[in-house]
């Protein structure tokens, strides 16, 4: 068995001190008569108590009693005591020694405790301010791990961030894959391994035979992993560790937040990349079409001097170019909608928007009968007006295609259950029952012309507004009905 020298030395001092003082007393007594010279022993007891605690002090007290009795209490050379006076003197000496030792030892403990608390507070203060001042959360985490590992009981200390279920070392000692997997498990379950954070400090569970197994503690954005000698982890160290772990929890949480913010901005960047690609594609596809249409329409004009037959040929070509333009436009619109471009929702008047769309389509609508069923008291609707403009335009385009000249097209709206229900109905052929749903599918090919995207776009817009769209057959023809949420009532001053 190894003997810890540090633990034995104070007792050596006690015995040696008693021997020296006993010799000194002998010297003094040979020349002077000093009463109560045994009090000198108390100085030794006081020093030992203040320096090493109560046990060495008590040992010194007892040794002093025995030595004084043996050498100076008559009959000298024996431990025997002659009379009650001498006995009382010895008892008093022992009591004084013990009380002095105890007082000195308690003073020592109190001062040690308060200086430990002050050191702990200083450490935490420096670490917390340092960590919060550091702009880079990783550096703050590294600082914290370094401080934790400087504690005598701690041999390894690591903070592990768990992001998207995957554990990564955020700071401190490296870990092998097996430990990282256990970290993930511990984080997901919120289960501690080998210890726990208690209000009074870090609690450690001793597992027999597995003393060097790492302790894993789940925190806010990850876990802490440490190898700690439980026997050496005294109360101040445990308290300090618990405080460091709370700070580590905050830092890991900050790291997770930064990670998520970074990911959001990456997504945003990929969104704007998509928009840029679509813009550039739009430019590349539309520019040649613009040249074609400008050229063809110039050629079809009277100034070009074409005969009727050639002019009709050119007009037909321009019609095809327009069709291609519409198709390209719808494909680009569809891609934009599908890429999830954000809606700009504002409370808007549906009749005003309908008026704008009808105004723009007036030339095509001229030879159809238009019926408007828009009550005056419709509430504002929460919409992205440009998108709903497109929705309505597509439904009217569709109606125009199937309405014979002179036929009626009805546009109406009413309020039902917090929604505006709007419809476009036309006189024309019914939609086969089996196609009432598939008609909204992309590239639905139930008709000769058109891209097959107009109604798919209409559905996408209605759904992105939190509404619905459906087709059904009425007495004189099909009706397309969609809903939009009514805007919350906003009072004007």
């Amino acid at each position: 068995m190894r003997v810890d020298l540090r633990r034995v030395v104070p007792f050596g001092y006690a015995l040696a001190g008693v021997a020296v003082i006993t010799a000194l007393i002998g010297l003094v007594r040979s020349r002077y008569a000093v009463p109560d010279i045994s009090m000198v022993y108390l100085l030794l007891v006081l020093w030992l108590g203040a320096r090493y605690g109560i046990l060495p002090a008590a040992v010194a007290g007892v040794a002093a009693l025995l030595a004084y009795d043996f050498f100076y209490v008559p009959p000298a050379g024996t431990f025997a005591v002659r009379g009650p006076n001498e006995l009382l003197g010895l008892v008093l000496l022992l009591a004084a020694a013990l009380v002095t030792g105890h007082l000195a030892a308690s003073l020592r403990e109190a001062s040690e405790r308060s200086s430990a608390t002050a050191a702990e507070a200083t450490t935490l203060y420096e670490l917390a301010t340092g960590a919060l001042r550091l702009p880079e959360v990783g550096a703050a985490i590294a600082l914290l791990c370094q401080r934790a590992r400087s504690l005598p009981a701690v041999s390894r200390f690591t903070l592990v961030a768990v992001e998207d279920g995957a554990a990564r070392v955020a700071g401190g000692d490296e870990l092998d894959a097996g430990v990282l997997r256990r970290c993930e498990w511990s984080f997901q379950r919120g289960t501690s391994v080998g210890g726990s954070i208690e209000p009074e400090g870090l609690g450690l569970v001793r597992v027999a035979g597995r003393a060097r197994e790492p302790v894993i503690l789940p925190l806010a954005g990850g876990v802490a992993v440490m190898t700690i000698a439980a026997a050496e982890a005294d109360q101040p160290q445990r308290r300090l560790l618990a405080a460091l772990l709370s700070l580590g929890s905050l830092l890991l949480d900050r790291r997770t937040a930064a990670f998520q913010a970074h990911r959001a901005s990456t997504l945003e960047a990929s969104d704007s990349l998509k928009t840029a690609v679509l813009s550039s594609l739009s430019h590349e596809l539309k520019s040649p079409l613009a040249a074609l249409r400008a050229g063809l329409t110039a050629l079809a004009g009277p100034a070009a001097g074409l005969d009727v037959e050639h002019r009709e040929l050119v007009v037909g070509l321009d019609r095809e170019a327009s069709r291609l333009d519409r198709l390209v436009g719808e494909l680009l619109t569809m891609s934009r909608l599908e890429s999830g471009q954000a809606l700009e929702l504002e409370p808007r008047s549906f009749p005003e928007l309908a008026g704008a769309v009808l105004d723009r389509m007036a030339p095509q609508l001229a030879d159809r009968r238009l019926l408007l069923r828009l009550p005056d008291d419709l509430p504002p609707v929460l919409m992205d007006e440009l998108q709903v403009d497109r929705l309505l335009t597509n439904l009217l385009d569709n109606a125009l295609e199937f309405t014979p000249a002179g036929g009626a097209i009805e546009l109406g709206a009413r309020v039902a259950g917090g929604h505006l229900v709007a419809w476009v109905e036309n006189e024309g052929p019914m939609i086969p029952a089996a196609e009432l749903r598939s008609i909204f599918d992309k590239f639905w090919t139930g008709r000769a012309s058109g891209s097959g995207l107009g109604l798919a776009i209409a559905r996408l817009i209605a759904e992105r507004h939190g509404g619905t769209i459906e087709a059904r057959n009425r007495r004189s023809g099909p009706r397309f009905e969609f809903t939009l949420p009514v805007a919350a009532v906003e009072s004007r001053r």
């Binding site: 813009s279 739009s282 430019h283 539309k286 520019s287 079409l289 613009a290 040249a291 074609l292 249409r293 400008a294 050229g295 329409t297 110039a298 079809a300 004009g301 009277p302 100034a303 070009a304 321009d318 170019a321 327009s322 333009d325 436009g329 008047s349 009749p351 005003e352 928007l353 309908a354 008026g355 704008a356 769309v357 009808l358 105004d359 408007l372 828009l374 007006e385 440009l386 403009d389 004007r492």
Partner: protein, 228 residues
């Protein structure tokens, strides 16, 4: 109708098609490919109308527009493949007279060119009374009548209608209305213009679903209709 037209577009085929097409309708056409050339030509030739493509190789189209507005009185029609309303609003805010999305047919372009030339003539003649159907806006007497009956407008309503009447036929953005009606220090709240326009329409008896006087351009602004 005739006039001088400056075409600014980096696509050679567009320049050729527009030069041929517009000359065939009696316009005197010059076509250039870049922004610097455009600014030089606008200064040298004083065109009546500039057709400005926004995607130019040397200068940003909006920059060319701004600099054109500083020194030329020509009407500017912006041509762009961008159907984005924000581009449209920005061009109009910077002083463009109209915005046409490419591709377009020559007939549509001719109609736009004629409209801006007519508007310039109307502004020059300074007609005191602007008429749209049975609506008459007497700018001299600050009097608004529908079918001869006087309509009482608040000062703000009148100022907004007056601004639209002074630019009859032109699409006026919310931003410009806010600046012109509420003053330079008005900060963007397009809801104000929407509210005032709704009030004017109500007083004029104009159904927003079948507007006879004031047309709405979603996401952009308003236009006082004119008959041709």
């Amino acid at each position: 109708m005739s006039g001088r037209v400056l075409v600014v577009d980096d696509e050679a085929e567009i320049r050729r098609a527009l030069r041929t097409g517009l000359s065939g309708h009696g316009f005197e056409v010059e076509a250039v490919a870049g922004g610097e050339e455009a600014l030089a030509a606008a200064a040298a030739r004083t065109p009546d109308v500039v057709l400005l493509d926004l995607g130019l190789p040397d200068l940003d189209g909006f920059t060319v527009l701004t600099r054109l507005r500083e020194k030329s009185r020509a009407a500017v029609i912006v041509l762009s493949v961008m159907a984005d309303e924000r581009d449209k609003v920005r061009a109009l805010d910077l002083g463009a007279d109209d915005y046409l999305v490419k591709p377009f047919g020559l007939d549509e372009l001719l109609a736009r060119i004629r409209a801006v030339i007519r508007r310039q003539a109307a502004v020059a003649s300074g007609d005191a009374v602007v008429r749209v159907g049975d609506l008459a806006i007497d700018l001299g007497r600050r009097l608004v009548t529908v079918a001869g009956r006087e309509v009482h407008l608040t000062p703000t309503e009148y100022e907004l209608l007056r601004y639209l009447a002074l630019h009859a036929g032109k699409l006026v953005t919310h931003t410009i209305l806010l600046r012109e009606v509420w003053g330079a220090y008005a900060v963007g709240e397009p809801q104000n213009t929407r509210y005032v326009v709704a009030q004017i329409r109500r007083k004029l008896g104009d159904d927003p679903a079948r507007p006879r006087y004031i047309a709405t351009e979603p996401g952009v602004g308003y236009r006082l209709r004119v008959e041709h």
